[in-house]
């Protein structure tokens, strides 16, 4: 399942991703796995300008993935009750939707 994501996810429309978690809390595994997947070289290669930051805290806060897109949209995913697959799918669907919108815009400009 993870390999499939790695092949098809394109981070082109993404400006930055901040992954915030408290490693001593028990509900961070899926968020940490998400961070690990994002750093995979195939995904990184789709957009080298995308900044991925890990914000390691120790304040009991919930694990959160905060994605900022190039067009200003934000996607905030609370990882405590989500699996890694669900978070990757959510990001992938939004990236694909934005890519499609961009393609359609370009087609309209150059018919």
């Amino acid at each position: 399942k993870k390999m499939a994501f790695k092949m098809s996810m394109a981070l082109r429309p993404v400006k930055s991703i901040v992954v915030r978690f408290c490693p001593f809390e028990p509900n961070v595994e899926s968020t940490r796995k998400f961070l690990q997947c994002i750093y995979h070289k195939k995904i990184q290669a789709t957009n080298t300008n995308c900044e991925v930051t890990a914000d390691v805290r120790h304040d009991g806060s919930e694990p959160v993935v905060d994605v900022t897109f190039a067009d200003g949209d934000r996607l905030i995913m609370k990882g405590a009750n989500l699996t890694t697959g669900e978070m990757l799918r959510a990001l992938e669907s939004r990236c694909n939707a934005k890519d499609l919108k961009e393609e359609q815009k370009n087609k309209k400009k150059n018919p």
Binding site: P23, F24, R32, Q36, Y39, H40, T53, A54, R57, H58
Partner: protein, 171 residues
């Protein structure tokens, strides 16, 4: 493998746990090289191997950190400042926590520890603070008698001045 981990932990004053996200091999070699310069060794560990070892050692409170792929940075010294400086340039390795001199620290704890002045400077500052108090006490205690001395001197001079015109000068 467990024995190797135990050996590594036994001889270390500083054990830092980091999440390892994939990075190019040459970057990993560079990271190892820079850390080795500060006597910090990089140890890749499998969670299945390391968890039982930790559960029976003083590091058991670090157990929650061992999910996903991790790497241990171990060192017989406690050069947290240098370690943080090297890791700043490596976003793929995220410091999660550490145990330095038998004290479990979070990431913020390690950063605070790195900002501490060296032991000799701290000792000098403590000695200066303690001796400041006692020197203040000493000057406070002396102030009373010193003031009395000044007053008595002034009194004597006044008496001498008053008695001086009535006595004929000697010879």
């Amino acid at each position: 493998l467990r024995r190797q981990v135990q050996e590594a932990l036994r001889g270390s004053r500083m054990v830092a746990v980091c999440q390892y996200n994939s990075m190019p091999d040459e970057d990993l070699v560079t990271l190892r090289h820079y850390l080795r310069k500060h006597n910090i060794h990089v140890k890749f560990v499998l969670n299945e191997v390391v968890r039982p070892v930790l559960a029976q050692s003083k590091y058991r409170n670090l157990l929650p950190l061992f999910v996903c792929r991790n790497v241990l940075l171990v060192s017989p010294e406690t050069r947290a400042r240098e370690m943080l400086r090297v890791l700043k340039g490596v976003p793929q390795v995220n410091l999660l926590g550490a145990c330095i001199d038998d004290t479990i620290l979070s990431r913020q704890g390690v950063e605070s520890f790195a900002r501490l002045p060296p032991l000799e400077v701290s000792q000098g500052q403590t000695v200066a603070a303690l001796s400041l108090l006692s020197s203040q006490t000493s000057s406070l205690l002396q102030r009373g008698p010193a003031h009395l001395t000044v007053l008595l001197d002034a009194h004597i001079r006044r008496l001498q001045d008053a008695a001086g015109p009535t006595e004929p000068p000697p010879g």
